[in-house]
């Protein structure tokens, strides 16, 4: 009997301990959920980032860490920034420094960080009618395409890639136009397909090209800086928070948590180890021993501008 009674007591004691543990566990849970749990962060980004699948790969980590949801909306860089201007984004992740600078100067974006980079490549048909294969200069290559009147497909959608392409034509001193120059107004994948169908040249980001190259007959004719090509073909991505001073309902706290997370060593490592088709698509550049003040302000900004 005594043994039995002791057994009952032990069971009761164990139950009480378990009950207390349950209570304190519950209390701890409530404390945690008093923070950002359950909130949604709206990130507008570019199609070329989104279509690589990188964000789906890494966002689970952030969502688990904070108990939040990240709504990633893919648009061209122009449209992604426009969403920010209209107060519909908490964070923007784009790749056109000129447009990002404008966004910051207008007061819509703050706390910009350099995030990662890859590069652009000039691709075209294998027979290369304009003879640009292996050229060291992207601008000379484009000039050769224009001179030959060889078909060239332009995104024509105000995306980061389209902006880069226009900058290249400008640097080449050539105004593209005529039958050979076609603006498709589509995403990168479609533009590559159009170029493939027509045996045309186009400017592509390396990530989209890699994820699609098995289905098309285009080849890389001018490499970007990752494969020792010209620096002008670099494709840097930046990230900014929406300015809560302009749009009071922007989720600024969570936006900064996101920027902190994505520029942290752990996430930067995850970005560098993300591969498609056995190739690395993005090269992180947020973590560095040396200071990089240029990333926080528009290019060429100096304190003297403040009066202007």
């Amino acid at each position: 009997m005594t043994i039995q009674r002791r057994g009952v007591l032990t069971a009761l004691g164990a139950g009480a301990v378990a009950g207390l543990a349950g209570c304190s566990g519950l209390g701890g849970g409530e404390e945690e959920s008093a923070g950002v749990t359950g909130e949604t962060l709206t990130l507008t980004t570019t199609t070329s980032t989104y279509d690589t699948g990188l964000l789906d790969e890494i966002h689970g980590d952030f969502e688990g860490m904070y108990g939040v949801t990240v709504d990633a909306v893919a648009r061209g860089t122009g449209a992604a920034l426009e969403s920010g201007r209209n107060g519909n984004a908490d964070v923007v992740m784009v790749h056109a420094r000129g447009l990002e600078d404008e966004f910051m100067r207008e007061g819509y974006g703050i706390n910009r960080r350099d995030l990662m980079f890859n590069d652009f490549v000039i691709v075209g048909p294998e027979d290369d009618p304009a003879g640009i294969e292996g050229m060291d200069s992207a601008t000379e290559a484009l000039t050769a395409v224009a001179d030959a009147g060889a078909a060239f497909v332009s995104r024509g959608d105000d995306s980061g890639t389209h902006t880069k392409e226009r900058n290249l034509w400008e640097a080449a001193g050539t105004e593209p136009g005529g039958d050979w120059y076609q603006e498709t107004g589509t995403g990168m994948g479609e533009a590559l397909n159009v170029a493939d169908q027509q045996g045309a040249y186009t400017l592509a980001d390396r990530g989209t090209f890699i994820s699609q190259r098995s289905e098309i007959d285009l080849a890389v004719l001018v490499q970007g800086p990752i494969e020792d090509g010209p620096e002008i073909l670099a494709n840097p991505y930046g990230i900014m928070a929406a300015n809560p001073g302009v749009h009071g309902n922007a989720n600024y706290d969570l936006a900064m948590a996101y920027i902190g997370w994505i520029t942290s060593p752990g996430t930067q490592k995850a970005i560098s180890s993300y591969q498609v088709d056995g190739e690395q698509l993005f090269f992180p550049e947020a973590v560095s021993e040396d200071p990089n003040f240029g990333q926080y302000v528009p290019e060429g900004w100096s304190g003297d501008d403040a009066d202007a």
Partner: protein
């Protein structure tokens, strides 16, 4: 949300093996071969149906009474009202999407409701798109009801409401067609839901505001034309199923 369970039932139906057989029959890779994570396709089917069914239901509740009132009364300017409704059938969905986006945008008049990039915003834009065809076709059906039926109902001592109900009963096949036309417009359009919904999935591949049409657009943008075609086939099967249900529901079908 009363529509959730009905929608789930249809999702379950559409995920039946018959669908896989059909896609094999058409020479496409089966759904099992698709490079999607588990739950992705059924979640976009669910969002498509949820948004379109809610929008069309609201639109029907709004449009049919208007069509009946318009059909049973005569007033100066009725022709003008009719042509406004008919013009509405030609609204480009992208324009509707932009207008709704400006309305729900955080700077817009409805900004405080936080509707941008939500299913509710998608329902709003599909409501705007579905209302003109439902109203116009219902109006044609109501106008086509024999005048003698109305007179008989009135002669039997029916109130205005009774007369309206009799007319709706007589015009039910036309109204069913109207609802199907509205549903067809809602579920097949891509422009406005892409703009106001944002084509969002969570990181684990479950759709939040991605519909079949915006998923097709996404695959096409990435040059994945085959996958886009398979999703297109799913959409066709879905529309076919909904039509079959409605036709069966309206007993012997549209006369």
């Amino acid at each position: 949300m009363p529509f959730e369970s009905a929608t789930q039932a249809i999702v379950a139906l559409s995920a039946s093996p018959a669908l896989v057989d059909l896609s094999t029959l058409l020479g496409f890779p089966t759904l099992l071969d698709l490079p999607f994570r588990e739950g992705y396709v059924s979640s976009i089917v669910y969002v498509s149906l949820y948004v379109s069914l809610v929008a069309v239901t609201l639109s029907t509740l709004f449009s049919v009474p208007i069509a009946v009132v318009l059909g049973l009364t005569d007033f100066p300017g009725k022709g003008f009202v009719k042509s406004v409704i008919n013009t509405g059938m030609g609204f480009p969905s992208v324009v509707v999407g932009l207008v709704v986006l400006f309305a729900v945008s955080n700077q817009g008049p409805l900004g405080s409701l936080d509707l941008v990039f939500t299913r509710e915003a998608m329902i709003m834009s599909q409501f705007v798109l579905a209302t003109p065809p439902i109203t116009a076709i219902s109006l044609a059906a109501v106008s086509g009801v024999d005048r003698g039926v109305r007179d008989a109902a009135r002669a039997l001592g029916g109130t205005r409401l009774d007369v309206a109900l009799v007319v709706i009963k007589e015009a039910r096949y036309g109204i069913a067609t109207a609802i199907l036309a509205g549903f067809g417009r809602a579920i097949s359009e891509v422009g406005s839901v892409l703009i106001v919904g944002g084509n969002i999935t969570s990181a684990d591949g479950i759709s939040k505001t991605r519909t079949l049409t915006t998923a097709i657009q996404l695959e096409a943008r990435q040059g994945q034309y085959e996958t886009a075609m398979v999703l297109g086939a799913v959409l066709v099967v879905l529309v076919l199923a909904v039509n079959a249900v409605v036709v069966r529901f309206g007993d012997r079908g549209v006369q």
